[in-house]
């Protein structure tokens, strides 16, 4: 396990560095924005208030609350200290809710929607791609153009089309929200069923998009492997076709796993937009409302969480890859 440990530590160090950089960007970029966000909330809160001193007092209070009156460096240290305690400050647009509170209520929707969908799509896509490479002929002729078409479809386009066909025209599934709008989250069967029904359209729209790209990638990888010398050699040796195919697909699978790690970020971004289209109560919708509400603590908190989510997912895939591909261990031992 010695080789593995080095591989893991290497990966871990790399992801840690990336996270620090992402963290810095996260802090700095929104604060470069022109205009005073506190003035925005005060204007909203003080609508109709005629007392100028009152408005000023509100303004002062909010400035202190959000520390926007302190120098950038100071703000940064306060931010770091707070983030490590899981405190992202108050949300500007949904005050008095805290950012942590807003994110906590939406993150599980996102995680439970996106990761299962991406994994299912990846599995189906790879199986189809491998079959297309092996069978060729009719199956390939149908699957390839369809996958090209589907994978070219923007993620939000697929979402919108599923929404208008199955949600609005056929009315098979509810068109928006994470559960019935007449319900309050509670552990009853009725609520669980409502969640399941609302889950279908966003889930399948993400799955379909993922399938297309993965199938194409797997197909060309498998075709490439099928033409390798070791396949010909095995054929000459008289090894059974079934066994050769086992080898081929195992080898073709490896780049697909790395590909998965690299494309998780893209997939998540597509899925966030799909959430917005279905008004799914996840992070995508949270970001949308934060953007409309000029809510920088919330934007920065949400993007930080998304970055963290993606980095952790990539790390897990990389670790799995290390176990699956023995060559990794070999190179690390040298």
């Amino acid at each position: 396990l010695k080789g593995y440990r080095r591989y893991f530590l290497n990966k871990l160090a790399w992801f840690a560095v990336t996270f620090v950089c992402a963290f810095l960007l996260n802090f700095i970029l929104p604060r470069l924005m022109p205009g005073d966000p506190v003035a925005g909330i005060v204007a909203r809160m003080a609508q109709g208030a005629t007392n100028a001193t009152g408005v000023q007092a509100i303004y002062r209070q909010y400035t202190e609350l959000f520390h926007t009156n302190e120098p950038m460096i100071q703000q940064f240290f306060i931010y770091v200290k707070n983030v490590f305690r899981g405190d992202f400050g108050f949300s500007f647009s949904q005050y008095p809710r805290t950012v942590a509170d807003v994110i906590k209520s939406s993150i599980w929707w996102t995680i439970c929607l996106q990761f299962p969908a991406i994994i299912v799509g990846w599995l189906i896509g790879n199986t189809l791609g491998a079959l297309a490479a092996y069978i060729r002929k009719g199956f390939d002729k149908v699957l390839m153009p369809v996958s090209i078409l589907v994978s070219n479809f923007p993620a939000f386009g697929m979402a919108v089309i599923l929404l208008s066909i199955f949600g609005v025209t056929l009315k098979w599934f509810p068109a928006s929200g994470g559960y019935g709008f007449d319900m309050i989250p509670n552990p009853s069967w009725k609520f669980v069923w409502s969640v399941i029904v609302h889950y279908q359209l966003p889930f399948w729209s993400i799955v379909l998009i993922t399938i297309g790209g993965q199938a194409i990638g797997m197909r060309s990888m498998a075709i490439y492997e099928l033409n390798e010398d070791y396949v010909k050699y095995s054929r000459f040796m008289g090894i059974k076709d079934r066994k050769i195919i086992g080898y081929v697909f195992r080898n073709a699978m490896l780049p697909q796993i790395t590909g998965l790690a690299l494309s998780i970020g893209t997939m998540v971004s597509g899925a966030l937009v799909a959430e917005i289209i279905f008004s799914y109560p996840g992070l995508g919708s949270t970001i949308l409302s934060a953007v409309t509400g000029q809510d920088y603590p919330l934007i920065s908190g949400a993007t930080l969480i998304i970055t963290l989510m993606v980095l952790v997912a990539m790390f897990v895939v990389d670790i799995l890859y290390g176990f699956i591909d023995p060559r990794i261990k070999a190179t690390q031992l040298d």
Binding site: W14, N26, I148, A155, V160, S164, V168, T266, L272
Partner: protein
Amino acid sequence: MRHTIRQVFRSSNFLIGFIVFVLLFATVIIYPLIVTYPPLEIISQGTFFPPGIYVNVYDSIGSTPYILNLDDASAKRIAGKLKNTDRQAMKDWLVAYGISEDEIDISDSAGLLRLWEVNYDPSTRLAGMTYAKHMYYQRLNTSLQGILSSEGVIVAAPNAETGALEETGTVKQSDYVNVNEVPNVRVLALGTDNFGRDVLTELVRAAAVSIEIGLIAGTLATLIGLSLGLLAGYVGGLVDDIIMFFTNLLTVIPTIVLLILISYSIGQERRGAFTIALVIGFTSWFWTTRAVRAQVISLRNRDHVNLSKLSGHSIVHIIVADILPYVASYVVMAFILQISAGILTEASLSIIGLGPRTTTDPTLGLMMNWALIYQAPILGKWWAYIPVVLVIALITFSMNLMNTGLDQVFNPALRE
């Protein structure tokens, strides 16, 4: 070079993609020359007018009538006013009122209307009926008035002095106008959007702007990616380490996060289409860098490069003359993909609400954003968003087909 181009155009994938793209491009250029309405002009009072040919009613009354005796005219007229759902609703009301169900035949318009006229009274409100439903029946009743009459209508205009109505003409049920003779006809092939703007004109302009964004973003990303990749791959050492550090960093940090943060930081006022294109270009170069670098490293120690080095050529000369031609095919493919990725990214960004802020130029993403904000999908106003999705898909599809075609030409292993 010429041979390569000929070979590329012989690939059916590339050719189809190329033709689709050229057609789209030509439409985007030619359409504004023919239809010169400003793309964002608000023309309709009210939102989401369905697609169709809009004929001015006032002008058609004024046009010379042609008499056509068509047998099915009155049947169609009744069907147009009395839809099946209305018939069913009338039956429901009558049954609730106390008429036995056997007496009512909803396919018999005359019979149904007679029963309705005899029994319906706008002032009676049936027990258990909601107010909305009650009002619906009142409206239905009004619209049914005179539906069976075979007389024409009289057109009257108020006298300017006395204010009394004076007959200016009659319109018979058999009168027709020729649409070509009506002076004011506007074809709204895709209806109007949530702001009351002509969707087709807007869409064509949006496609043009989006392609522009894609081209700017793609060019920028390819230029940065190519030069950094060449530099990192050929020079190596510390330069390589630094470039690769940033490249790896950007590959791992989700691009959408960077895009959200940057375009939010730019602020609303300064976020034009061009700025967004630059932002997209600056955040999408790293894939090209990675691939170019890998290829350059494998080329760096080839004999012809070493020979060039021994002959004392400068680094720039070696890169341009000895290395660039080998990576050119890849760079072209990457460029095409970057364009389509740029268009998609702009759309996603706009849906999140961080797209360009313009009052003069729509983009495909903004049209999506507007349609979504105004709930077009839920309201079933397909013309406001399906054409947009299709145009985006068509652009990216044509680009990817071109790319697949090129791939097949340059990577013989992938050919059939």
